[in-house]
């Protein structure tokens, strides 16, 4: 990979993160009234409110507080949660131990389902199999994931009683019970994403199948299957990985809802509880972290796409 391409992408990543941090900080600055008063409630003693404002650094200028927060982020010091009384970094690390495996599990499941269904549909273009996959993916895209999650609870928890309706035992109780608790949430997150990705995969594979190089490969005696798995799929992976990167954002957003459906103590539920508790330090750090995760994943996807198709590196330099 060309160092210039890498440097350009890295610079864009850093700039995007910087502007994202400005936005997150800026929006929370719009909060009307005194943040310390808001945290302690209208009946709090003025002395206590003043002490909290001093502790939170609210008396400093906004620019000072922003740089204090930014340098803290870079050092891994995210401040202290008002509601929990613990460092936000510890709180987030605990919650990430659930959210990251859940998102990865869902993404892996979605990719597996989508690639299989997409390639299957493309290889049976305009036949019954193709039509079925297309119809199912249309339904999947329209499916609200939290409703699907509730339906899964109805069937597998209320009806069959195979898995609990919610909660998470923690990784300390063993991998099996933890994965059991994450199974339904991961499936409900994955199905919608798989439906979108299957359509993209099908489209990308079909587009590649019409290319001259496939015709040449077939003319040289390569079987349809070998051409598909040996050449077509690699080239079709560029749009597929790009969409997967974009989907990761939806997946992370999806965890916020799904964690609430299954009462999972993850990052999404932490933000939600922090908003209810008016714990703005936690809200700010969690939103920034989620946005940073989305930006970072898109950066990796950009690099991956450029690695699969090196022509993208030159396009990037010309743009």
């Amino acid at each position: 990979m060309s160092p210039l391409f890498l440097a350009r992408r890295l610079l864009t990543l850093l700039l995007t993160l910087f502007v994202a941090s400005l936005l997150v900080f800026g929006v929370l600055e719009l909060l009307p009234g005194n943040a310390a008063q808001l945290l302690m409630g209208p009946d709090a003693a003025p002395e206590a409110v003043a002490a909290l404002a001093e502790k939170l650094g609210l008396n400093d200028a906004a620019i000072t507080r922003y740089f204090h927060w930014l340098t803290g982020l870079l050092r891994g010091d995210l401040g202290e949660s008002y509601a929990y009384g613990t460092p936000v970094a510890t709180l987030i690390a605990e919650r990430l131990a659930l959210t990251v495996p859940l998102a990865l599990l869902a993404m892996a499941l979605a990719a597996l389902l989508a690639l299989a269904a997409g390639v299957f549909a493309a290889s049976r273009h305009n036949r019954l199999g193709d039509w079925l996959v297309s119809a199912l993916s249309q339904l999947g895209i329209a499916l609200p994931n939290f409703w699907f999650a509730i339906l899964l609870i109805l069937v597998f928890s209320v009806g069959l009683q195979w898995v609990p309706a919610g909660g998470f035992p923690g990784w300390g109780e063993g991998v099996r019970p933890a994965l059991q608790a994450l199974a339904l949430p991961a499936v409900s997150l994955a199905v919608v994403q798989a439906a979108i990705l299957a359509r993209v995969t099908r489209g990308a594979v079909l587009e590649q199948l019409h290319e001259d190089y496939v015709r040449t490969a077939r003319a040289k005696g390569l079987s349809r299957r070998s051409a598909l798995w040996g050449h077509v799929l690699r080239n079709a992976m560029v749009p597929v990985t790009t969409v997967m990167g974009l989907q990761f954002a939806n997946l992370l957003a999806g965890t916020i809802v799904i964690e609430n459906v299954f009462y999972l103590p993850g990052l999404g539920r932490l933000i939600f509880q922090a908003i209810a508790n008016r714990d703005l330090t936690v809200v700010r750090d969690c939103v920034m972290l989620l946005a940073a995760m989305v930006v970072a994943v898109n950066f990796v996807v950009d690099l991956l796409a450029a690695w699969i198709d090196p022509r993208l590196q030159q396009q990037g330099q010309r743009a």
């Binding site: 305009n126 609200p144 099908r202 809802v257 939600f272 946005a291 930006v295 898109n298």
Partner: protein, 274 residues
Amino acid sequence: MRRIRTNAKLSLGFVLTVALLLTALLSTVWTPWPTGELDVLAKLQPPGEAHWLGTDSLGRDVASLLMAGAQVSIEVGLIAVAIGLGLGTALGLLAAARGGWIDELLMRGADLGFAFPAILTALLFTAVFGPGIEIAIAAIGLHAVPTFARVTRASAREVLSRDYCLAARACGRGAWDITRRHVLPNVLPVLIVQGTIQFALAILAEAALSYLGLGTQAPQPSWGRMLAEAQTFLFSAPLLAVFPGLAVMLAVLGLNLLGDGLRDLVDPRLARVR
């Protein structure tokens, strides 16, 4: 085969979307039961003659709540798409017409927008302004801006490179004039298609936000809030959780099919691989 598929998608999408619009319209003048009428003695009733889809935990008629919920979904979708379409189209046209650093800046801004999914934006806004339907609409609408901007820019650049635009420029017409007379009418079909898809996404996002309690607030009926309430009664009244979700899915399916069908008509090249 392709034409049959496009026609089938368009027809089904059209029928579902018209049904959604008519239901929402009808609910403004008539519902089987008043949506605000509580009857705790008739709570959690299964579907029957008096209440076609049963009653909720407060004895309200589920069918009536669903009809009124359609109205909320349409309102949210329309306003959110208007925000996204208005701002996104303006920014996309500006980027395409000006090019250079303005284009680069606006597109990097659009990339930044993708880092904030609608729910995340809504959570951030809720932390500041408190929950409410206006916050949900603003978050959903703002989230659609980068998508509209990107789609508009891509289509506008393609139109601007056509001979008649180059000729208009050679004749001394200004960028604004060319954009208004030639570019905008040509990108409009693409924007209508995108608008339909974003409408569907707005309905999904509103339902999710209302489910979390960040969107529509009581006593206004909403499909998302109905689902949140139904989850409490999964064991005693499981059907309560089925109907609102089905309503969201049919509404989104209709709009998606309509958008897909229109896109196949607007861009036959894309239809070849669909």
